[in-house]
Symmetry: C3
């Protein structure tokens, strides 16, 4: 049974998430749907791309990732589907697949993109403002039922990709930034575990505070301690044990993070 992961900025009050599931189950009644997030900051495509990029590799092969953060709905932006390695994606062509494509580049995965232009796979009536319901949900359902992506659209070669903030690496320091703040108030940086040599000494500065060394997990320090560690997806994060680094440091996306490296 194919699984659909489902990511939007719709919130969960208005019923639009539920409606899209109704549309999907009307076409593909047995498909499992995993809500990845519906709490993306409205219109924040980069945030959606990050959440999707971190989550996608943990889903079963053949999963269809349905992503609707779509401020350009009804304008010239193309509706899109993609096949990237073992996964498929359905959503607007606005860069939401950027992190996944970056991961696919690292993995050497195949990548194919189509412009959704076959109305026979859509609802009969298409609104100007809710392509999630009218185009993306039915297309995802048809893919789940077995339609190949070549059937639902016309190949394109130039999907929109966003500029990802890359850390600057020098001999003894790395200059990065905070790219996401999670539910526990941890500051997630764009510095990856592969960026830091395993046997060196590390000192991290953020918002005027300094953290010496990395720990393996939260419980390695006393509650209230500011710590630095790698997340479960390999990102350097700053956390407060049983607290919130975001609150303690008044951290924000975009905050600069400086790592000083030295041999021990």
């Amino acid at each position: 049974m194919t699984c659909i992961s489902f990511l939007t900025d719709f919130g969960t009050k208005d019923g639009n998430v539920g409606v899209m599931k109704g549309v999907i189950w009307g076409i593909a009644p047995a498909v499992q749907i995993s809500d990845l997030s519906h709490d993306i900051t409205p219109q924040n495509i980069l945030e959606a791309a990050f959440v999707l990029g971190r989550a996608a590799p943990y889903f079963p092969k053949d999963t269809i990732h349905l992503v609707v953060v779509d401020p350009g709905v009804g304008t010239g932006r193309r509706p899109m589907a993609a096949e990237i390695g073992p996964y498929r994606f359905v959503g607007p062509d606005n860069g939401v697949v950027t992190w996944v494509v970056s991961h696919a580049d690292d993995m050497g995965w195949s990548q194919a993109f189509v412009h959704l232009d076959k109305p026979q796979y859509w609802l009969p009536e298409v609104s100007h403002v809710f392509h999630g319901r009218d185009i993306f949900a039915p297309v995802a359902a048809h893919l789940a039922k077995g339609a190949p992506i070549k059937a639902v659209g016309t190949p394109i070669e130039d999907p929109v990709l966003l500029a990802l903030p890359e850390p600057v690496k020098r001999q003894d320091e790395i200059l990065g930034e905070v790219i996401y703040i999670d539910h526990f108030g941890s500051l997630v940086t764009n510095i990856r575990s592969a960026d830091i040599q395993a046997d060196g000494k590390v000192s991290i500065e953020v918002r005027g505070m300094r953290v010496e060394g990395l720990v393996k997990t939260f419980g390695d320090r006393e509650p209230g301690s500011l710590i630095a560690l790698f997340s479960s997806t390999g990102d350097l994060i700053l956390s407060v044990v049983n607290g919130s680094a975001c609150h303690v440091l008044r951290g924000q996306v975009g905050d600069k993070v400086k790592i000083s490296l030295s041999l021990e």
Copy 2:
């Protein structure tokens, strides 16, 4: 496979939504359940009725809409099921089906209502305060398994229906009001696309602001612009592009909206 849509004012912290799914799956293990919303303002029956009315038509035929916004639980208000056109409904007889009934009247759909009075379709013990768990979830599950609504209750002819706020239409103006505010801060009015002649000029006033003309979608204007357009379900809405009309205008449910119409 039958689908259940699920709408409450329970929030998602306390576990009551999950418990009701457990009860349903104990009776009908394979049924798909789509969370329509659990964030209805506590005890706000009219809000639930609106969300249900807008969403219901997009679900597969045979879907059972389970709605538990039930401030009168355990009092004289009747537990109810209904069969309205291709859909069934389970919940308190307090008006939550009002918008659906209004839509059914427009569509010429059949309508049948029953008072749930057959305890063999309920949990063995029924509390005074949680009929969602003890009556409505098991009845919905039995309907999903094939029980006809006539089996689960006794026909009634007088379901409770709420007074819906109707716009006042004059020759060259329409006086309506804000009836819902959505996740993106758009002000949803009770003025429908059918109320406005397609070829006229339109000017909209709300909270002392004026919007000239309608646009088709959000991206038709620059970020920050106040716009008027039709929602994906045909309601006139006021939005701020990539922002929140609710914040900008300090809009509230009940705000008056005046449309001036003129031939071009």
Copy 3:
């Protein structure tokens, strides 16, 4: 089909709940998953234990309760599974099963616990910070597919159990406390319906307010009234009709509640 109930303190934005469902469906594609709550206060094991304890008995027999409130992830705390009466549990050995074990003691249910130490039931790579994804989700999925708990771990006899706040009962009074505040602002106390004699007169004091007598349900008093009644799971609660006792009384977990009993 086995059902999994799913309880965390992860929130719903970051995608980690969705990722765990992806991991589960990669192993057990048809299993139903009921989100019990993902809004547990971060690191609040006692709160999670309460929500689980109240909800668990309403799930179908054979349900697997997956609970990840895990501040000790990656430290010495044991990953655990349990079989308690008709249910199974998967999560950290930190006391999240305390209320369920208390209920099982009352019911005379069998209880068996295992330390999860069989990596063949885990994801191939295990992080230090997300055992929900790497250990608990795959173990729950294997249990759903039919693995017995003895296969996934080694028996232990000393699961961690928390001290539950017990009311003090005297001849004519009961001294309890607020242990949870629900979505509707009701103050849930640790006083149970069995603690109060059915035919006596009852007076309740909390935060300087006094409530005379118990009602059966919310609609028994006018909107705005402060009332005392039993919840659907038998806990004494304090509520404001169509309002919030939490807001009106500025109630908090830990508030003392005194019940005076007298024969009529």
